[in-house]
Amino acid sequence: MSEGHSTYTPKTGIERWFDARMPLPRLVHDSFVAYPVPRNLNYMWTFGGILSLMLAAQILTGIVLAMHYTSDTNLAFDSVEKIMRDVNSGWLLRYLHSNGASFFFVAVYIHIFRGLFYGSYKAPRELLWILGCIIYLLMMATGFMGYVLPWGQMSFWGATVITGFFSAIPLVGNWIQELLLGGFAVDNPTLNRFFALHYLLPFMIAGVVVLHIWALHVVGQSNPTGIEVKSKTDTVAFTPYATIKDAFGMIVFLFVFAYFVFYLPNFLGHPDNYTVANPLKTPAHIVPEWYFLPFYAILRAITFNIGPINSKLGGVLCMFGAIAMLFLVPWLDTSKVRSAVYRPWYKLFFWLFVADAILLGWLGSQPAEGSYVFMAQMATLFYFAFFLVVMPVLGLIETPRRLPNSITEAVLEKKKGSGHPARATAAPEITG
């Protein structure tokens, strides 16, 4: 945390030389070695590190794939097949990149739900949360544009549908859509600019990640109790404690990732994307990548006009509104207690919300007909009610459980409760 003075002492001549000119070693030491983290962080807190790793991996595999890819509508599909068949290790690099995108989203969704469960967005971490939401938006834009590049049927029709959102904007919608596409339909100009932007955006993500970590290091990590760090005994040093825990989390995560890359490389993709794009034929059942499905279900749930807003604009507004909710969370939640551990009712609604998000995802993958439409409408209603009704109201009427006085007390209580030998000698540690 920021209040701690730097404990870095340069030991060698080279370190002293650097420290007087550009204290980068000091910054690294203060941020990743001596930096104090709450002693009770659980494995949910390893996903920030996992996400950094995935971003680096995506940039690395992406750069080498770009050396073999051609962004021309006549050549793009074949160049991807060439990567798969002819380029040395090309199949591996492509599967790492395409599955890497999916696992990037797996990690980010766990990271976001972690924040929602433990109230990590509450003051003073609002800006930290909002920077995270911006990263998430940039990730969605990057993922969407990347999926267009192989120029398969789902690439083409996904691009058509998503750029179609902008045509819903009154008056200027068509102008904006033509500006994005560079034509009247998705075509060569679209593919070229998407490739350029797909290459650019990850570096913008990296930039916002730096801001995200900066904001984190000013306010410090939250923790499962949601109680702020009060004394030195509440924390441990980032290295070795968090470093090793993060490393172990990464290894387990990469095991699962590797299983998909080597044994189920196309499980998360769609077979229609191995058919070259055809502007005259829409696939019978068009779906976006799995990580967009809940929002896709919300988009399709609005089949009726709402006053002057027609169903198309209404669907687009609800879909973007669903993401906008995340930005407002710090002000929608009125509870004074951060962590759901001490909020029995919020905990219940949180898990209902998780179930609702998964249900929406499943509905997004089903055809938009019959009872699916009604279910999607109900699930959409609950999605918005969670943010706009449950969060503000529950904070006012819920009686939270008794909070421990400090992180240290919570840790010791837990140890006693779980039958481990209580560290009675921990008392001297509590010096304030």
Binding site: W157, T160, V161, I162, T163, G164, F165, S167, E178, L179, L180, L181, G182, G183, F184, A185, D187, P189, R193, P279, L280, K281, T282, P283, A284, H285, I286, L299, R300, I302, T303, N305, N310, S311, K312, L313, G315, P367, A368, E369, V373
Partner: protein, 186 residues
């Protein structure tokens, strides 16, 4: 001048404002080409017309041609399709406007206004769903017209939106019969 003399605009204030304005205008002028280059280019805008030979189309069959990068369907409708289209009560329509580029922009969406006089069997229509741009499948759905597989919009036999999220009837492009068997689109 003195720094406290804020109520008396002088030559220096004028220069500050003028310089600032010039910078804003300059920045806008430099930014515009960067936005402008994204718009459809000259080759895309070159609006081609297509001539379609429809002599092979028996009642109940359709063909699709590509026009401005989008599919245009030409359908020779059956007696039943025409009757179904004409029987629709205008009050039941989600979009009451004909959306026919050959007619005034407020023409009502009657079956006749969706076709061309004397050729009521023929539907010539941009086969792009007005929701998010998918290609609807012909002769499917509850109304025997078009069904969009993406988000479930259903159109009747005159291409009018009847159910689902699409807001408008499918667009009818500028076209004319140049002979009994030839249509000029665009």
């Amino acid at each position: 001048m003195s720094a406290t003399d804020i109520h008396d605009p002088n030559r220096r204030d004028f220069l500050y404002v003028a310089t600032g304005m010039a910078a804003v205008v300059g920045a806008g002028a430099v930014a515009w080409p960067f936005i402008d280059q994204m718009r459809p280019d000259a080759s895309t805008l070159a609006l081609a017309s297509v001539e379609v030979d429809v002599s092979s189309l028996q009642p109940g069959s359709s063909l699709v041609v590509k026009w401005r990068g989008k599919p245009v369907v030409v359908r020779n409708r059956t007696e039943k399709e025409m009757k179904d289209g004409a029987a629709v009560n205008l009050a039941d329509l989600k979009d009451p406007i004909a959306r026919n580029a050959n007619l005034p922009s407020d023409a009502p969406a009657t079956d006749a206004n969706r076709t061309t006089p004397g050729k009521e069997a023929w539907m010539v229509m941009v086969q792009v769903c007005t929701h998010l741009g998918c290609i609807p499948l012909g002769q499917e759905g509850d109304f025997g017209g078009w069904f969009c597989p993406c988000h479930g919009s259903q159109y009747d036999t005159a291409g009018r939106i009847r159910k689902g999220p699409a807001p408008e009837n499918m667009a009818i492009p500028v076209f004319k019969f140049i002979s009994d068997t030839k249509i000029l689109i665009g």
